[in-house]
Symmetry: C2
Subunit: 328 residues, 2 copies
């Protein structure tokens, strides 16, 4: 039985957003969401169970994890220990290939990689569905970083039936997510808090009611590789996430001057014939979705914007995968 394993998982960008929970404790969401894994934004995590340890040792990058992260990771390790019926403590080392503090969400890739590495190190061999359910409990969007390529997280009704599946493999459509990094500051309101407030917006019921149609537009657009169909749907959904946040009580304002400037610039570029569409997460960066052939031009336009500090170009990424297992 292995006691040490290393896994890698990609971050993902949602085309239809996860926002708000049916069950906050287990992170069972209000609605299905659809995303694309990002090949250039990933977390690599090694987990080693060691009977000599009295406590879990958690490192993120070169540093011991802060208290909030430590608590959240240990809770996740406990989920796996319960499944594996072990009590051994573990050494966890996690690193992102993208710089911290860029406002890029890392919890999706982090909890996906952690779930795979921990279960394998504990001697478990979960199938994709069980891994997605496990990852989801650590971070909702991590459920979508388990399967390959273009992914739909089926909301389900309870923990056991809320998991993500691959809609289409990563090499099906050569899309790009050109991320315009506009801020290095931490989010003022974490997305977990945002999810908790979603149901205080008086528009949330209408959002959930209307989503099945938009989900179907996105699925059809992906299957047809039709960016002109995909783009408006993802922009609508991104705006809607922000408006649910801004109409929550208290309101959460994720928008920033720089974000608005990037969106304005790209809407003008589109009016001039460049096929690019934006999406936004609960953070300051703008994700610019285009086809591979236009990615250089989109990236170049983004770099010209004064507030843009960096640009990261992502192709569709694979699902979480095991890098190494070690037997002792």
């Amino acid at each position: 039985m292995p006691q040490k394993a290393t896994a890698e998982a990609k971050s993902n960008i949602a085309f239809i957003k996860y926002w708000g929970n049916r069950d906050a404790q287990y992170r069972v969401p209000l609605n299905n969401s659809i995303s694309m894994n990002l090949d250039h934004a990933f977390t690599t995590t090694t987990v080693e169970f060691d009977a000599r340890l009295n406590t879990d040792m958690i490192r993120v990058g070169d540093l011991p994890a802060n208290d909030a992260t430590r608590t959240r990771v240990i809770t996740h390790l406990d989920r796996v220990r319960a499944l594996a019926k072990i009590e051994t403590r573990a050494r966890v080392a996690s690193s992102n290939n993208f710089p911290t503090g860029t406002g890029m969400a890392s919890s999706a890739s982090a909890f996906a990689a952690l779930s795979l590495a921990t279960t394998r190190a504990a001697g478990l061999n979960l199938d994709e569905r069980a891994l997605s359910i496990l990852a989801r409990q650590g971070s909702g969007s991590a459920s979508r970083s388990i399967p390959d390529g273009f992914v739909e997280w089926m909301a389900g009704t309870e923990s056991g039936n809320s998991y993500a599946v691959s809609l289409l493999p990563h090499d099906f459509w050569d899309l790009r997510d050109v991320i315009a990094i506009v801020s290095t500051t931490e989010k003022k309101v974490g997305s977990s808090d945002g999810h908790g407030l979603a149901q205080t917006s008086h528009f949330i019921d209408e959002r959930v009611r209307a989503l099945p149609l938009r989900l179907q537009r996105v699925r059809r657009a992906l299957f047809a590789k039709n960016l002109a169909m995909l783009g408006p749907a993802i922009e609508e959904d991104a705006v809607e996430l922000h408006l649910i946040a801004m109409t929550s009580n208290p309101p959460i304002f994720y928008w920033s001057p720089a974000m608005v400037r990037v969106i304005e610039t790209m809407r003008r570029a589109r009016a001039d014939g460049l096929a690019v569409y934006f999406t936004l997460d609960a953070g300051p960066n703008v994700h610019l979705i285009c086809e591979a052939k236009d990615a250089d031009q989109v990236a170049a336009r983004a770099r010209e914007i004064a507030d843009v500090q960096n640009v990261i170009v992502n192709a569709p990424g694979t699902g979480a995968r095991l890098i190494a297992e070690h037997l002792f």
Copy 2:
């Protein structure tokens, strides 16, 4: 019978917004709205009926009106001619005390002043209700520039019962609207077009459903002179106008980087203890609502923001009033 009259009417800032029509032709709105007249933003209009004219002569400021304005003003003159049973053409001279191209809405004050001046010049003596109904047909929000001070426009169900009344006189509460002028460019989408698109937003029904409670909060806050009650309600409504616009089909983006920067700055100032709340119209400027005692500080903070080109401080204004009548 007078043939020439001069009237003045104030612009107004809506605390609860007019957005979307039940009847677009007659500008019967979807919902009640509440506003404050602005004493430092007004239109002065002189109308002279002259039997020697073959055509209406319309001047705005120092220039002949452009075609769109000319058509809209002549249509309004025709409404008055029908009421007065005359066919005489008129000379109209209208000027705003605020510079054009500041993104400040002038149609409210313009059609309120035009309605009063034209009816008096035509020998009519309409009561406030009839004037408000008339002004509303020229520009919806003009209905609110007829009564004094703090005003509610009762949506009604048809043209004859859709008009504004004064809730409280202008000297009831020493509020200020500190307008941060952030752009001199014309609106990309006029508010008339925005009203037409409102019902394409799948959130409009929920907005209209939820508004009575917010209207009541605003009325109560005004009667109690309670800014801490008023402020959150007007911010909610301003955000909601923009989100209805952004979720219309096609979406309308009125936001700008500068607008977001002003809002961010003022939210921080509020967190630091300054009692200031924002509202937005279908344009780029930000209206900062505070009490008179804080207006200097709010204006000073606004002027420090790089994108703010000018600041105009307004106290509550009177209703439309006659400046002069001339008998020949």
